[in-house]
Symmetry: C2
Subunit: 521 residues, 2 copies
């Protein structure tokens, strides 16, 4: 038995100084259980959309009001720069407001009505109505690299609360102070909006309880779904645990993505240096610690390609040495980087495979090169290396690129750089990339995930455990729901969204025809 | 190594006579591998919607044209009655035509377009477009109880082909002749419609190769998703195998459902006998071998309840002894029935726990009774018993029903019988039922699954492995797809559905507003 009569204490860490920040107390098994039971009771009270929207907007306002305080702690704990974190906070509050607006509008439930036909022979046709309903309490595991937008108040929490699912956040041990601060503000918003008590809970985790708190949440019978952003081993472990429960539950895990870039000759015909600069900026953005940083660059041999590679080398050489998120990120990064570095045929173009020995937790931006033949023979050059690193793969002919695209592991993004003259090749490559990624970018960089209706932040395994969903944009709400059909249910017993009168004025499909939303309220 | 140089031969069986039909040859490991590789090559040729629709319609026409031949073999192999099978065939061809119409109309891809804004500060907003794309080759495992509608040409095959996914069917060993016949007709339709070769494959399975053929298909790297209809152990085994692959794939398994019915006092105030007749007809429909047969009837003690229970007993006593689908169905049924029969507090009301000893594979319709107190103390009375059996649970007060609803395992359906006078109780019960089932029925019976847009044939585990989808109705196509986002992709390289001109005239959401479908073609 785990000793949890006294809460385990763990230390926060400042990666820029390598010094501890302050002590935090991890949740006990009793805390986990209590949070889950309270969440279940809160779920049964089914707060209305207006109440949930009010809670989300209030939370956004509180985060904005405490921006400076939040940024100070987040900068201290993550080593990320202030402008980056300010943009991330604005994206976080934007997402909270997006979901508030989505549920106030109401059409997101995908209401479909098929009226019955009592006179049909041989049997009457029943009246059937369908809509999405919330699953129940959701466990949220935030990421190390987005202490705000994929964390306590991030997209998973916002979309789950919007759907009507109580949220239990497992705190991230790399930024416990940021988590505590943001969680306190959300808890206040929950109270002020008069949401049922227990609809939101924050469980700090760290030290010897870091993994256990998470495992206990996912195993708890009251929890009905899991949102996770993190590593492939972490995500797949949660998928396995969730699948072995007496009642298995879905895990929406966003994990590892190598985000390959395919460079066709026309794209670097004119300005190879500019292309190189864009790629290196994307690869080293936030210390290369973004889920969408480009990790593999496939390019066909040519003088222009040499110019691009040379310019990339120079840009990598000039890139600042970033502070990494913490010791775990650093250790994983260097383990993986050295694995790549000792692969036959791989050369270090610039940078270093060695862990810097000063107090600051950091890494030197690093570029490696390999021929397509060696890349193909290697075991696992296609796996993510999370940090300021990129591998350039020199290819001979277009068929190498096609073959590489087909062999690619699932990825959040795939990028094609091409000019008009490359169209025939682009036409061959794009369907292969479409088959292996959640987002295709032409003549851009993969970093910079727009929060928009058409966004897909997902992809085949190992990018995600569930490629049929997205972690960004309004569609993310669908993860926390399932459709329910109401057969011959009297109007007065139906949810408002499915009643004949459509008092909410939402968009519905009625007898096969879409009836558009109208301003009913 | 499995010896598959010579194909394993297995016997078909006629459950009505208990005699063998004829010999069939199971697919070898090489057959599995070849089918998967061909399916992958066929997938890469991406046949257009018009071609796929043509294939589906042609298949429907061929099934209709060969109806008598198909029904003769199916009756012989399953013991199901001719009218039931004729209705099932008509539903099968109806589903094939439904998906043909769906993809010809084209809006099912859920196209969303967010135009870019090059002048946005600090960064330009990219042009983002999203739609559903097919996953790749799909493995289909049909059910024993629906040799046509959930089988070779059933809803899984129809929806997967419609989505653009090649289909590999694992033949069911209980009706190999029906499978072979239907598969031959679909293969012809695939050829006539000029679909890529290998877009459909049928792999007979039986004897010592029954399980192995299925496992080999699910493990094959080229297979990208699985549709399964069958038992909980079978479905959960496939989910596990699919999850342990180097690249895990989704399994849409429809498994065991107890389909509880909750009877409120008002519903039997007037005519308890009529209610009883409806419930028994539903419970013994097709030998009780339907996924939606009611297995648990919760009723509050009262004189009317006694009248209903007495009438149910009589109706069960008068119900014909059905032929079961085969020896495996029979053995599983009696194993489970005897497990129920020896549970403390459970009484046999009418019927028999004993396997009939004649050549015909059959069972006597059986009703059991138990008090709610004993039901609550029992281990697993909530699990499905697949066959002509129902348990009546006598409850004391409304809170027993609420508690039972909350403790219910996931189910395809939950039924509420109530009159207007029961409304306060119904209002308390319905949210609990909604939380545990995919379809709620008021004052009806759970059997009879309408093929309609608003239908949901799904539910929380163990009813299904994926409660967020449905196996019936047009929404079933979503299972075989995932969304892909196209960022700044030139119009000429976009799929037709996302091009600016909307030549297909499909319904799309453009910059937040829905643009309705128009007759473009």
């Amino acid at each position: 038995m785990q000793e949890t009569a006294f809460n385990v204490v763990f230390q926060g860490l400042n990666p820029t100084t390598g010094m501890p920040t302050r002590a935090y107390s991890a949740a006990s098994s009793e805390d986990v259980s209590e949070a889950a039971e309270r969440a279940c009771r809160a779920f049964r009270r089914h707060p209305e959309a207006t109440v949930r929207a009010d809670c989300l907007s209030t939370a956004a306002a509180k985060l904005d009001a405490h921006a400076d305080e939040i940024l100070t702690v987040a900068m201290e704990e993550t080593g990320l720069a202030e402008p980056r974190l300010r943009a991330e906070l604005s994206r976080t509050t934007g997402t909270l407001r997006l979901f508030a607006a989505l549920i106030l509008e109401g059409s997101w439930v995908e209401a479909v009505i098929d009226h019955g036909d009592p006179s049909r022979k041989p049997l009457p046709r029943p009246d059937l109505r369908r809509m999405l309903v919330p699953l129940g309490p959701v466990a949220v595991f935030g990421a190390s690299n987005f202490p705000l937008a994929y964390a306590v108040a991030g997209g998973d929490t916002a979309s789950a609360l919007a759907a009507g699912c109580p949220v239990i956040v497992k705190g991230h041990s790399a930024h416990p102070g940021t988590g505590e601060l943001v969680a306190g503000l959300i808890a206040k918003a929950v109270r002020e909006a008069k949401m049922p008590e227990g609809f939101f809970a924050f469980l700090p985790a760290g030290g010897s309880r870091d993994v256990e708190v998470g495992v206990e949440i996912v195993k708890h019978a009251r929890v009905r779904a899991v949102g996770f952003t993190g590593s492939v081993p972490g995500g797949t472990a949660l998928v396995r645990i969730a699948g072995e429960r007496p009642e298995p539950i879905p895990v929406f895990a966003e994990m590892g993505s190598v985000n390959p870039v395919f460079v066709l000759p026309g794209a670097i015909e004119k300005d190879a240096a500019e292309v190189a600069a864009g790629l290196v900026a994307s690869a080293t953005n936030s210390g290369g610690q973004m889920c969408t940083c480009p990790g593999l660059i496939f390019v066909m041999n040519s003088p222009q390609a040499e110019r691009m590679i040379t310019a990339m080398r120079e840009a990598f050489g000039q890139a600042a040495r970033p502070t990494l998120l913490g010791p775990r990120t650093r250790d994983n990064y260097f383990r993986r980087l050295r694995e790549i570095g000792r692969t036959p045929g791989v050369c270090l173009a610039i940078g270093s495979l060695d862990t810097p020995q000063d107090a600051r937790i950091s890494a030197i931006p690093t570029m490696l090169e390999v021929s397509y033949q060696d890349f193909k023979s290697a075991e696992n050059l296609s796996d993510e290396c999370f940090g300021p690193e990129t591998i350039v793969v020199r290819c001979g002919i277009l068929d190498d690129l096609i073959e590489a695209a087909r062999a690619m592991r699932g990825s959040l993004t795939a990028t094609l750089l091409a000019s008009d003259s490359d169209s025939p090749a682009a036409r061959r490559l794009l369907p292969e990339l479409q088959d292996r990624a959640g987002r295709l970018i032409v003549n851009g960089v993969p970093t910079g995930v727009e929060v928009a209706a058409a966004m897909v932040h997902s992809g085949p395994f190992p990018a995600c455990s569930r490629a049929d969903t997205t972690a960004v944009g309004p569609l993310a709400i669908r993860r926390w729901c399932r459709p329910v059909c109401f057969q011959n249910v009297p109007d007065s017993l139906l949810p408002e969204e499915l009643r004949e009168a459509n008092r909410l004025g939402i968009s519905r499909v009625v007898d096969g025809a879409r009836i558009e939303a109208r301003a009913a309220r």
